[in-house]
């Protein structure tokens, strides 16, 4: 009865149409304007709706994916996983988050109180802000910046500081070690990310994320087919950025307890935990937008709401991270750094040069997209295979003498704690 009345009303008629949330919000804002509100009200309201929507979606996805991840990894490792709270352990994430809320947030005596408090917030913010420029569907984007791709990288760079603040303020050698490892890793893999995304920007000719998605749907292709190597490099760099296994040396339990959040407990730890998931979703969202066609899928978006397609792809990409966590062993830090600097960096640089040449030839010779794109895709795929195999052979097995014997930076920095002489220095 109530629903009938509401559906006839002006508001719900549009909200009910699940196909396009963006339009519904737009209609709602227009209505506000018609009510005679000043200019800034729709502006603020749209921002609030977007932020709240994204936050709620993130929290819901996180709660679901905590369960999925724990169960899936348990299956992969021949365990049972959480199965006591609720049917099939479904309520386990809720119990976990309740526990995190209720537990005491301990601040150790010798910690730097201010930074210790600021760090969880500082790490939470960049993970959220990334979603401002991600187009969930046509028009469903909070701030369609024309420097979107650069913005993503810039925001991710802020993570380094937050991690460092957490590790340093804890006044704990494991925390500091974890923080220094993370900082070194993030800086190295940031370069890879920039170079990987540069290929996308070269193709699309714009740094606006919705333009990149539009380019992909316009040419009816996904950039992962044109850019297989950078897509892989981006995913690897993303896994490093969110500390996912096999790149989770920053919080390797068997080596340095829990890395930079060793001393955190209660809700402050919850912030780190949530931020890690949010950053994972952010990486997946960016990968989907830039490499997997965003909310388009060869005409399927006419039948299915775009944001559903987007979310499906996002969860698929995120599942890859879960899968790698379940199957791959952890790398050593020197292996990880060498992989970035000796393997991914030269290949990404080469890729930028090749893509630039290809786009130039495509434009100058005025080829039709139907001819140029398959050729470019084939060339790049062949190049990816050749480079991975050839470069790997040149660097890797067969020449064990070339492998790094020790991680110089970490041993030096690791020997440094608060005013005391470094042992052996």
């Amino acid at each position: 009865m109530l629903l009938e009345r509401l559906r006839g009303g002006p508001l719900l008629a549009e909200w009910w149409d699940l196909r396009d949330i963006g339009n519904a919000v737009g209609g709602f804002l227009q209505r506000i304007e018609e009510w005679g509100a000043p200019d800034w009200v729709p502006y603020v309201v749209s921002g609030l709706i977007g932020i709240l929507g994204i936050l709620l979606w993130l929290l819901a996805s996180q709660i679901v994916f905590i369960w999925i991840e724990r169960r899936a990894i348990a299956l992969m490792q021949n365990r049972l996983g959480p199965n006591r709270v609720g049917p099939m352990g479904l309520l386990q994430p809720i119990a976990d988050s309740l526990k995190l809320f209720l537990k005491e947030a301990i601040t150790t005596r010798d910690s730097d109180r201010l930074l210790f408090w600021v760090a969880p917030v500082a790490i939470f913010t960049p993970a959220m802000v990334v979603f401002a420029v991600v187009p969930f569907s046509e028009g469903m984007v909070l701030a369609d910046l024309n420097v979107g791709v650069l913005f993503l990288i810039a925001v991710a760079a802020l993570n380094t500081m937050a991690v460092f603040m957490a590790g340093w303020s804890s006044n704990n050698k494991y925390a500091l070690l974890g923080a220094m490892r993370t900082v070194a890793m993030l800086i190295s893999y940031e370069l890879i990310q920039v170079l990987a995304l540069l290929g996308v920007v070269l193709f699309a000719g714009s740094m606006r994320l919705s333009d990149v998605v539009g380019w992909q749907s316009g040419f009816n292709t996904w950039l992962i087919f044109l850019q297989p190597l950078p897509a892989l490099a981006y995913l690897i760099a993303g896994a490093v950025e969110i500390n996912r296994s096999p790149m989770d040396i920053a919080e390797a339990e068997s080596e340095i307890v829990a890395g930079y959040h060793t001393e955190y407990s209660g809700i402050k730890f919850g912030f780190f935990y949530a931020a890690e998931y949010f950053a994972g979703f952010a990486i997946s969202a960016v990968a989907v937008s830039l490499y997997l066609g965003g909310w388009t899928a060869w005409g399927l978006e006419q039948w299915v709401p775009g944001w559903l397609l987007f979310l499906a792809k996002l969860y698929l990409v995120f599942s890859i991270f879960i899968w790698t966590r379940g199957t791959l062993p952890r790398l050593r830090i020197d292996q990880l750094m060498a992989f970035a600097w000796k393997f991914l960096l030269p290949m990404s640089l080469l890729n930028v040069v090749v893509v630039g040449g290809e786009v130039l030839i495509w434009r100058e010779m005025d080829l039709s997209a139907g001819v140029a794109l398959p050729v470019i895709g084939a060339v790049n795929a062949a190049m990816a295979v050749a480079l991975v195999v050839g470069w790997g052979r040149m660097l890797g097995h067969g020449r064990p003498e070339r492998r790094a014997q020790r991680a110089l930076l970490t041993t030096e920095v690791g020997a440094n704690f608060y005013g005391k002489a470094a042992p052996g220095a």
Binding site: N146, T160, M161, V183, L408, E412, V413, N416
Partner: protein
């Protein structure tokens, strides 16, 4: 820039920038000083946004707040036995006077000069225009900047290369 939002944004960001820059001077702990410095950099980035300089703002966040501050942190961590305090030298008072005089002069000049203000409004989009300018009109400085970066990278590596590494080779 007359609407209330832009004015509020300016005052908030300006006080953030200047306030945290002054705190860098006052604060005793070097790590806190770096964090405040980053806050100041972010404030400047916000001011760039209010000036409709989107590309420069993002570059500011990426390079200053993301890279240079981390470099500074590494420098602090790699010099463990040096003091972690942020104290002044003996020249403190004369330098304070000098800085105040310089700042006052610049401020006075910028207030008193009759700038030829153009009422042109903000830029629509700067990234592509900057890119075109860099690769056409400013292509020589652009190349020189890249050479400079290469030189400084090699220089930094050569400077701090530890002895242990060359022995192993």
């Amino acid at each position: 820039m007359d609407d209330a939002g832009a004015i509020a944004a300016f005052w908030i960001l300006a006080s953030l920038t200047v306030g945290s820059a002054l705190m860098v001077v006052v604060v005793r702990n070097l790590i806190h000083a770096v964090v405040l410095l980053i806050l100041s950099f972010l404030g400047v980035a916000g001011l760039y946004v209010t000036l409709s300089a989107d590309f420069v703002a993002v570059a500011q966040v990426l390079i200053y707040a993301g890279a240079i501050s981390v470099l500074i942190l590494f420098a602090i961590m790699l010099t463990p036995q040096a003091g972690r305090d942020n104290a002044e030298t003996l020249l403190r008072l004369p330098m304070l006077l000098l800085a105040v005089v310089v700042g006052f002069t610049i401020g006075l000049v910028s207030l008193e000069t009759d700038w030829s203000i153009a009422d042109r409004g903000g830029f629509e989009e700067t990234a592509s225009a900057i890119g075109e300018a860099l690769l056409s009109k400013y292509v020589l400085p652009f190349e020189m900047a890249s050479v400079l970066l290469l030189v400084s990278m090699i220089g930094a590596i050569v400077l701090v290369r530890s002895e242990g590494f060359s022995e192993e080779e």
